[in-house]
Point group: C2
């Protein structure tokens, strides 16, 4: 993309309403615009990151064998009356009457609807196991929306639902989700720690939240520092392998790690003192096993191997897709702006032309731009007639992990400059070497 | 995808509520499920086609230089009060009160919001031209939703908005959209004819609707049969080329083609009698130029070259993404089911194993499946223990354009069968030749 043809409305002023770094930086970098309290438009740059995150979530869900579909945003109230949650949900549910005076609502989650879909079509244990998921806009009418996309009202979320014949099978689905979530977050450059959680309004005996450590997190967390040393890495997973998935769950959850909701001071005291940590965390996902709660209430049964009807065991599993942008920025920024991890960056690298209009500089930039594009990369080329300082400031603010700086002086010596946004370190390289370096970086990433 | 692990709930019975073929076939093929009147879930197969269509729309919009972003579904009423449409829109607007008693609505379209975004950031003619678009769920509270996704309440639509300094520039944007829409529909295997249209509630001096001819269309259309001979083909387009875009508009719109809303019997009479046609059509898109209607009402001005503020010239341009599934099926089906054009098929080909459990047949199917997957195709392998007849019926119903049938008898002669869904013709080929044929078909498609 050439910046002269893009829509990137960066702000010089820091918006007064933004209290935390991610909110401030997303506004300043022209990623989002507030349309109403807790409701945002995703401007082109923000939308691009949202899509990258969505793609990673999709790839990892499908790798785990989960099947994508899509439920609508507007739901009939009757489904929620069946489960008893229509009255229980409270004022966070956005309730709507249509022109025929039917009670509808903007879905805050989808347990009822997916259970209704399941019971409409599936009648035999032979069609299990089954895990369906969707990524859809949801609405929770928060009393006080704040922190930008971190606690908005309209938000984008992946929610998946497993249907299994037995508790044992459903716990494998639970473990499979935990494993796939670990992979998902790590691909985004995040360390998200699974912590024992509270069931909350969805209910659930087994549940873990995934928390990203950040000073601005809404939850106080307590953990054994050994959990932060764990890394998923590039291990090969067979998602049908019950033992392997259970082993990974053990590895990542056997040490103490809880939010304040489930914190147990006595248990925490057993952690060696030098490894006891208290910090703040941002919740970016949660997995639940809740047994037959919804299948009992809504009559979602299958015929078991013995011919008798049995209610299916279910779980639901969520990743806060839009919220992740905030979490990633909270975990990765500095005074000059955002620092995108390679896995989610909106553009793979920036190209800064120090002297737009200089024939050599223009040509070198175009050549790099075309070569990168031909190799399947998306560079952002700042081809505006602006001072170098302004171009650098924009690139730093929007946080592309790599920048190639091209100027007439360097070109006379046959070099351009490749700069890491994270370390600030620069190298002078021949243009084709800079190109190979980008290929190498993302080949690894 | 292996069918044994997929969720494809095909129905044997024809649902009573479905009056037209596309609705009937989408229900029977397990593509959609109605959750409330005019509100549908997209089951995995339907969702896959929806995403293919969305991707084509995205690719063609970006090819034309239009920039993707995303606006929320819920909008504040105040924006619509500025344009005067809050009261004018009528009962099709889904009006909502949030917990703080603020008037909100589920967006049926986005002229107001995009104009607000534009005026918040753009102040100079130097930032023009600009075309932003999004693909988002919308809601129109239809009195009588019907025909499945063709006239639903919650629907998925691409809407794009151009901002230009002059009428002349805006008309180029109009032409550019027309050209990109022609390409878009043709890639989906559709012949969509641009017809002179009526501005309707959005207003507009220049507007064309794109109609797909089908007996079940809601509009009566009148046209010169010469328009159906036109084809976009693989011509190279430079979307910045004003002459070229205007030339294509002329080529595709100079002959008589109108809906009943704008039909002019006297003009129609001038068409040579043997080329006069009356038929029915399904609207799958519309383009508008409406000048400064919204920029005047909402104060969206830029500083012109002479330093004086001028209201921008705008247009809006829509493609009914979810509705397109219905239109494509109306245009392409037979008594046995859907016939997907190669451009939008959910899976590139089906593999039918005539004797699941036979070692040779199983191995040949697995080999084909793996070879196709390795080449970047998505096959659907029917690996269930079902009768051959049931497997063929499912494949015909869901409409994959190509089917490879594998059985022990053929394998003894070293062949599998490649069958075209459209013509029903089969060829016996060695498995590797069948594979090359699939590559060749989609290489061309």
């Amino acid at each position: 993309m050439r910046l002269s043809r893009y829509f990137l409305p960066v702000l010089k002023e820091t918006p007064a309403e933004a209290q935390i770094a991610s909110h401030r930086l997303m506004l300043r970098a022209g990623m989002i615009k507030q349309n109403a309290a807790g409701i945002y438009s995703w401007l082109p740059l923000g939308f691009k990151v949202l899509k990258r995150i969505e793609q990673i979530v999709n790839e990892e869900q499908q790798r785990a064998g989960h099947i994508p579909m899509l439920m609508p945003t507007i739901q009939p109230a009757d489904l929620w009356r069946e489960s008893g949650r229509y009255d229980a949900y409270g004022p966070e549910m956005l309730r709507i009457r249509d022109r025929h005076d039917r009670d509808m609502l903007f879905g805050p989650t989808n347990e009822e609807m997916i259970t209704d879909i399941f019971r409409s079509y599936v009648s035999s244990y032979k069609d299990l196991p089954l895990t369906l998921y969707h990524i859809q806009w949801k609405f929770r009418d928060e009393m006080r929306p704040r922190f930008g996309v971190m606690r908005g009202r309209e938000f984008y979320m992946k929610d998946g639902y497993n249907f299994d014949l037995t508790k044992e099978d459903a716990l494998h689905a639970y473990n499979r989700h935990l494993v796939s979530y670990l992979r998902t977050y790590e691909r985004m450059g995040l360390k998200a720690i699974p912590m024992r959680a509270d069931g909350g309004p969805i209910g659930g005996d087994y549940t873990h939240e995934f928390l990203v450590l950040a000073d601005t997190g809404e939850s106080e967390v307590f953990y054994d520092s050994a959990v932060t040393d764990l890394s998923f890495g590039d291990r090969q997973i067979d998602y049908d392998d019950v033992e392997q998935c259970a082993g990974i769950l053990d590895e990542f959850t056997s040490r103490y790690a809880r939010t304040d909701e489930t914190h147990d001071a006595d248990e925490f005291a057993k952690v060696p003192e030098d490894r006891r940590r208290t910090a703040r965390g941002i919740e970016v996902g949660q997995i639940f096993y809740f047994g037959t709660k919804y299948s009992d209430a809504m009559g979602a049964t299958v015929q078991g191997p013995d011919g008798k009807p049995v209610p299916v065991h279910m779980g639901s599993h969520g990743i806060g897709v839009s919220r992740l942008l905030g979490a990633i920025i909270e975990a990765s920024h500095d005074d000059n702006g955002i620092i995108w991890p390679e896995g989610v960056t909106p553009f793979h690298c920036g190209i800064v032309n120090l002297k737009q209009g200089d024939a050599d500089a223009d040509k070198a930039c175009e050549d790099l731009y075309n070569a990168l594009t031909a190799k399947g990369f998306e560079p952002l080329y700042d081809d505006r007639k602006e001072r170098a300082g302004a171009k650098f400031a924009t690139m730093d603010l929007i946080g592309l992990p790599w920048r190639i700086t091209v100027g007439p002086r360097g070109l006379k010596n046959g070099v351009v400059e490749l700069t890491s946004r994270r370390t600030g370190e620069s190298e002078e390289l021949a243009p084709d070497v800079a190109l190979s370096r980008i290929v190498e970086i993302y080949g690894k990433a």
